[in-house]
């Protein structure tokens, strides 16, 4: 994907070529799923050049998961953007989760994979800062996670438009950031995406999900968080 990717593995023996494979995987994901790329598989589907039913296994799996997530979240998560498909709000977490699975299959135990501020952790306690949406040089909270995924949804800017999946002409600006800790990054990311689309109600949605905690920041710098958030928080 076209965003910073950080992979850190702290096992005793780490092979550079294994780490390279993870970066190659993210390039593969970007080439397939980026709606900004003219010849990506998703762009070709959107142009009608490929039918969804004839697309690759990975594409069909992601689109199927998007349909499921849309049903589970009453449409607050959706990959439909007008006539086009845009699975970004799910494929990011899905790809990070898959990449972490590849590290596990390679035999690694202690690592994290961070793509664009969404993170999958494994094997030991990792300290994750929640960035201040108003100041990129500060963290407003610090959580400690081991095996969980941490995803932060923010205002989705597309072109000069701030996008609300539910009402395309009424973008979300009441909240500016919603961080979710989930059982893994695939779950955390898709639920953070759905919750952000709900605006201020999003944190209520997260509070009802078993195994998830959330921290939402409003445009006024007021945070609202789930009761169980504090069990992860060290600051």
């Amino acid at each position: 994907m076209d965003m910073p990717v950080v992979v850190e593995v702290v096992d005793d023996k780490v092979r550079q070529e294994d780490i390279e494979k993870i970066f190659e995987y993210f390039k593969y994901i970007d080439d397939k799923f980026s709606t900004f790329k003219e010849d990506s598989e998703i762009t070709r589907i959107n142009r009608g050049e490929i039918k969804r039913e004839s697309s690759s296994n990975d594409m069909q799996e992601v689109l199927r998961l998007c349909d499921e997530t849309e049903a589970e979240t009453d449409g607050y998560f959706t990959m439909h953007r007008g006539e086009k498909l845009d699975p970004l709000g799910l494929v990011k977490g899905w790809a990070i989760w898959k990449a972490a699975g590849q590290l596990k299959d390679m035999g690694y135990k202690k690592y994290y994979v961070d793509a664009g501020g969404d993170i999958q952790t494994a094997g030991r306690k990792w300290r994750v800062g929640i960035r201040n949406p108003f100041n990129r040089n500060e963290n407003v909270r610090i959580v400690e996670v081991d095996g969980q995924g941490v995803a932060t949804s923010g205002t989705y800017i597309r072109g000069q438009h701030v996008v609300n999946p539910k009402k395309l002409d009424e973008p979300i600006t009441e909240i500016v950031s919603l961080s979710v800790i989930g059982p893994n990054i695939y779950e955390a990311d898709r639920m953070a995406t759905a919750a952000f689309a709900m605006g201020k109600l999003g944190i209520g949605f997260i509070s009802k999900l078993k195994g998830f905690e959330g921290y939402m920041i409003s445009k006024d710098g007021v945070a609202t968080f789930t009761p169980g958030w504090e069990k992860y928080a060290i600051h």
Binding site: N135, I157, Q160, K219
Partner: protein
């Protein structure tokens, strides 16, 4: 007789609960008293340990938004700072009418076109709340939104700070 009265009492209690929920739709929260550092300090005076970030660093100090506890904004138009969105700059103008944000306009956007966006307001259930504060402890990783989202919020935040 006793049983009937008890069950009527229970039904009555639930009915009252239901009605009061409908008539007071505002945010119901337990504010967490903040101890320790005061609201997020201005970036230029901050002594926070810089943590490794995976995003772009800001090339100019960005004022942080002081928390608003119950007050409204002053009417008027407020221009936010120019913030780096990695592929260009974003700058917004916030328009306050009747103490509320009625419009946010893009003054700068990488391809330099302009647009305006509308605002939604919604209510919410019982949860914990606090003013955000800067934490100076070291971290391994940082979770945040994308560069364009960060820049949009930084610019919007500085506009709103002027409107306070």
């Amino acid at each position: 007789m006793k049983k009937l009265l008890l069950s009527l009492g229970v039904i009555g209690t639930f009915a009252i609960y239901g009605l009061s929920q409908q008539s007071s739709p505002e945010l119901a929260m337990m504010p967490v008293p903040t101890t320790g550092p005061s609201p997020v300090p201005d970036n230029s005076g901050s002594a926070a340990t810089p943590a490794p970030t995976s995003g772009q660093s800001s090339s100019q100090p960005v004022p942080t938004v002081p928390p608003v506890t119950g007050g409204q904004y002053k009417n008027g138009q407020y221009t936010g700072s120019v913030a780096d969105a990695y592929y260009g700059n974003i700058q917004v103008k916030a328009i306050i009418t009747n103490g509320l944000i009625s419009d946010v306009q893009f003054l700068q956007y990488p391809n330099d076109r302009r647009t305006s966006i509308m605002i939604n307001t919604q209510a919410m259930p019982l949860l914990r709340s606090e003013a955000i504060t800067a934490q100076s402890a070291n971290v391994d990783i940082i979770s945040g939104a994308t560069d364009s989202s960060q820049a949009f919020v930084e610019s919007l935040g500085s506009a709103l700070a002027q409107a306070k």
